[in-house]
């Protein structure tokens, strides 16, 4: 009984804090708009300045419903009276807090206090919407009512579902069936049929060839960005995913690749006018050399030290590029314009050509990464990642293999940097901030460290989805940050874990490192 009330109150408090935070960052209005779009509600009421209130009500109801759902712990099935208590206390507390916040803010707003200087998302329009264009008291009562009722509904629904169908066990079955479908006999006989394989490859190939022709330049641009990030992800995956060295300054290699290519091909500031394909090769080479320069002294460091040193290195490269010291060489903060464009059959590369080139490179990159992973080198890397001391003891030259991983990763970055500069026809120091490194790292980690399909998936999720959800663009980085934390807690092996990490191996490994488990093992 008392635990039920406690659980309910805790959930209610969490919901209230999250919901208030969402109000303050202006997310509620955006989410309400999206709900309106999904349901096909009219954009605005008869009066242009007012948004439809029912979208916001649906959002609040949804928040209350989710509160109710999570007040019941996973796998537990408390008696009805407890369910009622949990749903009720959670909903009332959440509604009460949010209602009070709305009441206070609303009352000040009615007296003419302007919050916008400090909290830009509490402008007149947004506040009016949050107050349902009525009085603060009425609005806050509505919040309380909606949270309470829908939280109760959520708790009851959860209870009913677990009671009626034993839903959780069924879900588990479904999950294991889905994850095991690739192991079934039918699938295996199909997959090992060579005719089938060849047909599939041809089909995919034809599809990939025609897609860029069909879907227009906007999609070519987005998918091109995704492809460049897949290449970057493949490179960083060799360093972080295979050999387990956390490098946070990956952007440095990307930048050197892009700048080498741009300076060798652009008319300004040097007018070298080198052949483009030679320039691509050279920029890859320069990136590799940069990797060597960085890697030789620092790859003896481990884990977090390495992360900070490489982060510092990435920042040094960016600061140097834009500094007055190197402006004669790099054109400083202005960047390099008119970067060289490849020529194909007598005409300059179009977006379609770029897309085809990028697709080819991604396929080649995937192939190379796959072969590397399965090679002796790859096994050495994975040994280093899993336990460096043991790897060394079994005769792996850890220093050599770590440097090799860094150089290969740098080569990928240099190549994609050259393509990036060429495709944008411009490159400037602000293209190479720390966020690029973080984005690529997110791709590798969220996809699944060391897993190749995971990287493709990660690149689509992190670079493709945000382009599609333009309305949510402002919240993208916020979501990235939260996603990283949540992923590390809930699913550290990534969305699509590689074979070595599957079936809790990673979890078992990480647990074995923990000091708390020492007694159990002994």
């Amino acid at each position: 009984m008392i635990t039920s009330i406690k659980d309910g109150l805790r959930t209610g408090l969490t919901t209230a804090i999250i919901f208030t935070f969402l109000i303050l960052i202006g997310f509620t209005s955006v989410a309400a708009n999206i709900i309106g779009d999904v349901l096909g509600n009219p954009e605005a009421l008869n009066d242009e300045s007012q948004l439809p209130v029912e979208n916001l009500l649906i959002l609040i109801g949804l928040a209350g419903f989710i509160t109710g759902l999570v007040t019941i712990r996973k796998g537990s099935s408390p008696p009805w009276i407890d369910v009622l208590l949990r749903g009720l206390t959670g909903g009332i507390l959440a509604g009460l807090i949010v209602g009070i916040v709305i009441y206070i803010v609303g009352s000040f707003h009615m007296e003419g206090v302007d919050f916008r200087a400090y909290l830009p998302n509490l402008g007149t329009a947004q506040l009016g919407y949050l107050l349902f264009y009525s009085t603060p008291l009425a609005a806050s009562t509505t919040y309380l009512l909606y949270f309470t009722v829908f939280s109760l509904v959520g708790a009851l629904v959860r209870k009913t579902l677990t009671m009626l169908t034993g839903l959780s066990t069924q879900l588990k079955n479904l999950k294991s069936r889905v994850s095991n479908w690739s192991d079934t006999k039918v699938f295996k006989s199909f997959a090992s049929n060579q005719l089938f394989q060849a047909g599939l490859i041809i089909l995919v190939g034809v599809g990939l060839y025609f897609l860029p022709l069909v879907w227009g330049s906007y999609w070519n641009y987005i998918m091109g960005t995704v492809a460049i990030y897949i290449l970057l992800g493949l490179g960083l995956n060799i360093i972080v995913g295979f050999s387990g060295q956390l490098v946070l300054g990956y952007v440095a290699f990307f930048a050197t690749g892009a700048y080498t290519f741009a300076l060798l091909t652009a008319p300004e500031p040097h007018a070298v006018g080198l052949n483009l394909w030679v320039a691509v090769g050279l920029s890859t080479l320069v990136s590799i050399l940069t990797g060597l320069l960085l890697g030789l002294p620092i790859l003896r460091l481990r884990g977090d030290y390495l992360a900070i040193v490489t982060l510092g290195f990435g920042e040094i490269v960016r600061i140097l590029i834009r500094s007055d010291l190197l402006t004669p060489l790099t054109n400083g903060p202005k960047g390099v314009t008119n970067v060289g464009q490849p020529i194909w059959r007598g005409h300059i590369f179009t977006d379609i050509n770029y897309m085809h080139l990028l697709m080819l490179l991604v396929l080649a990159g995937l192939f190379i990464a796959k072969r590397l992973k399965d090679s002796r080198t790859g096994r050495a890397w994975i040994a280093i990642r899993e336990d460096q001391t043991v790897a060394q003891a079994t005769g792996v030259d850890t220093y050599k293999y770590k440097i090799l991983a860094l150089l290969l990763g740098a080569a990928f970055a240099g190549l994609s940097g050259a393509l990036f500069a060429s495709r944008n026809q411009f490159t400037g120091p602000e293209d190479f901030t720390l966020m690029v490194s973080v984005n690529v790292l997110c791709i590798v980690i969220i996809g699944g460290m060391g897993s190749l399909p995971g990287i493709v998936l990660g690149a689509f999720v992190l670079k493709g989805l945000p382009e599609l959800l333009r309305e949510l663009a402002d919240y993208r980085l916020l979501a990235f940050g939260a996603l990283l934390v949540v992923m590390m807690i809930v699913r550290p092996e990534g969305l699509w874990p590689g074979q070595n990490n599957k079936k809790g191996k990673m979890a078992a490994f990480t647990n074995s490192l923990g000091e708390d488990n020492l007694e159990e093992r002994a």
Partner: protein, 365 residues
């Protein structure tokens, strides 16, 4: 002789490191000689100004660096979001000062006299307390939400979580308060750009009130921390947990509570540093914590990470190197961040244990 060399067991890596080190030292000496003897473009007053700037910034770095060191000493993880904790302290202090400035003082009769200028000392005390407390709260929540579930996981995992938390906090601040730069409203007695004039040679240098205030306050806070760690029961248990978690737990120390308190203390110091940063420099936005955070980490490494006096010395040293360095080396002031990062890389290559640090065991590094 030859045998002696063979016994030294020099590998290619170490040989390269030492050759690179010698080249760097020779180059630095050459630059210093060049700028000090030949050019002599800076008068003594300029040097004095650099020195003052270095000390003030160094104090702020020290306070933040202590936070890194405390957490690293206990959990062996880099609290990557520590700079963001400081940033939120800067914001909190700003809002308190704005509130004081907005309310006119009761009973003064003068409408233009705000509460801020009627009771400046009280206002400052409250500002620092609120700013530091907000940061302490954020530090506590950060540990509870983002780090505690990962205790005992592989080393990379909490670090990635910390990076995520850092991105989250930075963007949350941007979305909550807007991306524009803001300016601190100081009370009149601590107005930026006012101070004592100190004669140096035939010119005079301004010793700003804000700078002096920040420096003294950071010294006081550091002294308080040292007393806390050395003399109190909490400090004793913190040192015990840093030494060996299991043994500490067996001695009846609540390890989780000690870790929480460590995060609260480091957040408190970072928050105070954040308010100082705002009062001294004025302008800030949601990026304010990022660079000082990394610099302070550099300072912690420089002094020997995990070592509290080391963090203090490292912070001061880094502040001085950063403000004097470009002048000594005769390079552009744009490149002062490069100096900090280069120091970080050089320290980690040549003396990973830092200036005051013990040589850490393999499992700790």
């Amino acid at each position: 002789m030859i045998k002696k060399f063979q016994n030294l067991n020099i590998t290619w890596g170490t040989a390269l490191r030492y050759i690179a080190g010698i080249i760097v030292v020779i180059y630095l000496l050459w630059r210093i000689l060049q700028t000090t003897s030949i050019q002599g473009s800076y008068g003594p007053d300029t040097w004095m100004r650099f020195l003052i700037t270095g000390l003030v910034i160094g104090g702020i770095y020290s306070l933040i660096a202590i936070g890194y060191t405390l957490v690293y000493g206990i959990l062996f993880m880099i609290n990557f979001a520590h700079g963001e904790v400081m940033m939120l302290g800067t914001f909190a202090g700003y809002f308190v000062l704005e509130a004081f400035a907005a309310i006119s003082a009761p009973g003064s009769g003068n409408q233009n006299m705000s509460l801020l200028n009627t009771y400046p000392v009280a206002a400052l005390v409250i500002t620092f307390f609120v700013g530091a407390s907000v940061s302490a709260l954020i530090g506590y929540l950060l540990e509870k939400i983002a780090y505690r579930p990962l205790r005992g996981a592989q080393r990379l995992i909490p670090l990635i979580s910390a990076i995520g938390a850092s991105i989250f906090l930075q963007n949350a601040a941007q979305l909550l308060f807007g991306p524009q730069r803001r300016q601190y409203t100081n009370p009149d007695i601590l107005w930026r750009g006012t101070g004592w004039m100190i004669p140096v040679g035939d010119k005079s240098v301004m010793l700003t009130y804000t700078g002096t205030f920040s420096f003294i306050l950071s010294m006081l806070l550091m002294a308080g921390l040292l007393i806390l760690v050395k003399k109190t029961r909490l400090g004793k248990s913190m040192r015990a947990v840093a030494e060996n978690k299991q043994a500490a737990a067996l001695m009846g120390i609540d390890v989780d509570a000690v870790i929480s308190k460590t995060f609260i203390i480091s957040g408190f110091l970072a928050g105070a540093a954040g308010v100082m940063w705002g009062i001294h420099n004025g302008l800030f936005n949601h990026y304010v914590g990022f660079i000082p955070g990394i610099k302070a980490f550099t300072a912690a490494v420089l002094g020997g990470v995990g070592n509290i006096p080391g963090a203090m010395v490292g912070g001061m040293l880094l502040g001085l190197l950063e403000s004097l360095g470009p002048a000594i080396l005769g390079i552009d002031f744009q490149l002062k961040d490069v100096i900090a990062f280069t120091i970080l890389i050089l320290v980690l290559i040549f003396r990973p244990s830092g200036l005051l640090g013990e040589t850490l065991k393999e499992d700790k590094v």
